[in-house]
């Protein structure tokens, strides 16, 4: 566990040394503040459009931070050849994969906490009502979704030649899942034959990241999610993240380290 935490700590330090997070945070804050100061029909009570834009920016920023940070972890170690002294220590390849995952996931969580903190500040600025419990649930679900995304990007970093390729593929896959995965069963039902069966197969095989998106509930001030479904969603994310990490470990075990 100490090894894992040591590996994770390095990743967290890397996040606050790099400029990605600061740039994205400043951009989010700037766009939100400009939009918040726009006057629509001399009404100061409108807040939902601002929530929508802020949450969208938070989702995009968190995704960028998680994918880009995860995608460069192992390739950077290989490129700078620091992977050799690392593995010369009593550290297994499984621990490297797990430590990198833990570091990126925790770092993404820290960044996410700051973003959601900013969201609360914006809500207070506009004197908006809203459920704090739902806000905490949204943060938790978002973070759990990032666990799957980070695991996916780490697996991709072992399969694809360059971090840029991996990042692009991860963005396309995650965006595709977020937009379409929940509707694959509807499409499958309308598609007879093997096409429909293939879509059903994809529907059950793909991680349903859209489950973790409760932005609409927050924007339109609906009640929080019941505890049962929240626990099931958490377990669902944990299972997918674990499967992807096992796959990453399996690939890493067989991968020659020479560049």
């Amino acid at each position: 566990m100490r090894t894992l935490l040591a590996l994770a700590w390095v990743v967290i330090k890397e996040l606050y040394r790099r400029k990605d997070f600061y740039v994205l945070f400043v951009l989010t804050a700037l766009i939100t503040l400009v939009l918040g100061s726009v006057n629509f029909f001399e009404d100061t009570l409108m807040v939902r459009y601002l929530r929508e834009v802020t949450l969208l920016l938070i989702w995009v920023s968190a995704l960028v931070i998680a994918v880009v940070t995860a995608a460069r972890q192992i390739p950077a170690e290989r490129e700078s050849r620091t992977i050799f002294p690392l593995l010369a220590k009593p550290v297994t390849r499984g621990q490297v994969v797990l430590g990198k995952f833990l570091g990126v996931w925790l770092a993404s969580g820290l960044a996410l906490a700051l973003f959601y903190g900013f969201y609360l500040v914006v809500g207070a600025w506009k004197a908006a009502s809203g459920s704090l419990a739902l806000g905490l649930q949204a943060f938790w679900l978002h973070w759990m979704m990032l666990a799957v995304v980070v695991a996916l990007a780490i697996l991709g970093s072992l399969l694809f030649s360059a971090p840029s390729v991996n990042s692009t593929i991860c963005f396309v896959v995650v965006t595709g899942i977020l937009l379409l995965a929940g509707h694959l069963n509807t499409l499958a039902a309308a598609q007879p034959g093997p096409g429909g069966a293939l879509m059903y197969g994809l529907y059950f095989a793909l991680p349903h990241l859209e489950l973790f998106d409760v932005r609409d509930l927050m924007i339109h001030e609906h009640p929080p999610v019941p505890l049962g479904p929240l626990v099931i969603a958490t377990l669902y994310a944990a299972v997918y993240a674990a499967l992807l990490l096992v796959a990453a470990w399996w690939v890493f075990r067989r991968k020659p380290l020479s560049t």
Binding site: F40, F41, N185, T186, L211, D216, I219, H222
Partner: protein, 306 residues
């Protein structure tokens, strides 16, 4: 690459961007077609694509009105397959005059435009029963309760999207009329509604719909019968200039203008004029017997009026 090279590169790119923008801006005004009518260079660049954005924002306003309970394009496609598209709704016989009937119509019109396959929310359970365990689980994380924005000025939440829609496509008059309806009827912002309608009228000077809405505002909110009369006359002229003859596609809009004019004349005691307008409405109405009853009542009042 050194920091100095990077800084110089950024400065060069910035200079090139500003220079290109300054060079393009005056030239964009000379471009032909609808692009030339755009207010800004960004809108000019977007071209007809901005109408897509405008429609998206208009639908967004409808989503907000229903507190996020809205069918996705996949639900709409499924609904279209199951129920069939393009079924015209029978006009409401109550629409001939009367505030209540009109509120219903504008509200309904707003919803229908935004989601033709939405079936006016008659099908409140559009997702249907859950198909599998993932579907069942996912419904805990999305909006499954159909509520409308109502009270405490929450209806204002739809207005930013309507404003944006009008910015992106200033020639879509429905954006102005729907926003004005909410502003004056639900939020009590009559001045804002009028200003927005007048802004729409400047861009669409011959719009009978905007003139009609301005007339409603003058009569229903400002109680200014003379101005309402003038505006509805202008709306009628604009209608004739645009359509010429009555057919099934434009019948409702003319009937609406005439019915309001008839109602105004009736309420202000101009029985002759009211009879004249109701007679014209009868010719356009799918339920002439209801109008006939009204005309009979007015004819009884005629001797007393003289």
């Amino acid at each position: 690459m050194t920091g100095r090279t990077t800084a110089l590169g950024c400065a060069a790119l910035l200079t090139a961007a500003v220079g290109l923008a300054a060079w393009l801006e005056p030239r964009s005004e000379a471009w032909r077609g609808r692009r030339a009518q755009a207010d800004s260079f960004l809108l000019t660049l977007l071209g007809d694509g901005r109408r897509l954005f405008a429609n998206h924002f208009f639908v967004k306003a409808d989503v907000y009105l229903h507190s996020g309970f809205y069918p996705s394009i996949f639900d709409q496609a499924r609904s279209a397959c199951e129920h069939g598209l393009g079924q015209e709704q029978e006009p409401d016989p109550r629409a001939e005059g009367g505030q209540q009937a009109h509120d219903h119509r504008v509200h309904e019109g707003h919803e229908n435009h935004a989601a033709e396959a939405h079936e006016h929310h008659d099908d409140h359970n559009f997702p249907g029963p859950p198909r599998d365990w993932i579907d069942r689980l996912s419904r805990h994380f999305r909006v499954t309760e159909h509520t409308h924005l109502a009270g405490a000025q929450t209806e204002a939440e739809i207005l930013p999207w309507l404003r944006l829609a009008a910015e992106f496509d200033p020639h879509q008059v429905e954006f102005y009329t729907v926003a004005a309806y909410w502003l004056r009827s639900r939020l009590g912002k009559v001045d804002q509604a009028e200003a927005f309608l007048r802004r729409g009228l400047r861009v669409n000077p011959n719009s009978e719909e905007i003139l009609f809405e301005l007339g409603r505002l003058a009569w229903e909110n400002r109680k200014d019968a003379a101005r309402a009369r003038n505006l509805w006359s202008a709306a009628e002229h604009a209608w004739h200039a645009r359509f010429g003859a009555v057919d099934e596609t434009n019948r409702v809009s003319l009937r609406r203008i005439l019915a309001h004019r008839a109602q105004l004349e009736e309420e202000t005691g101009n029985v002759d004029e009211a009879i004249r307008y109701w007679t014209r409405v009868r010719e356009l109405s799918p339920h002439p017997e209801a109008i006939e009853q009204r005309l009979a009542t007015l004819r009884q009042r005629l001797p007393a009026a003289h």
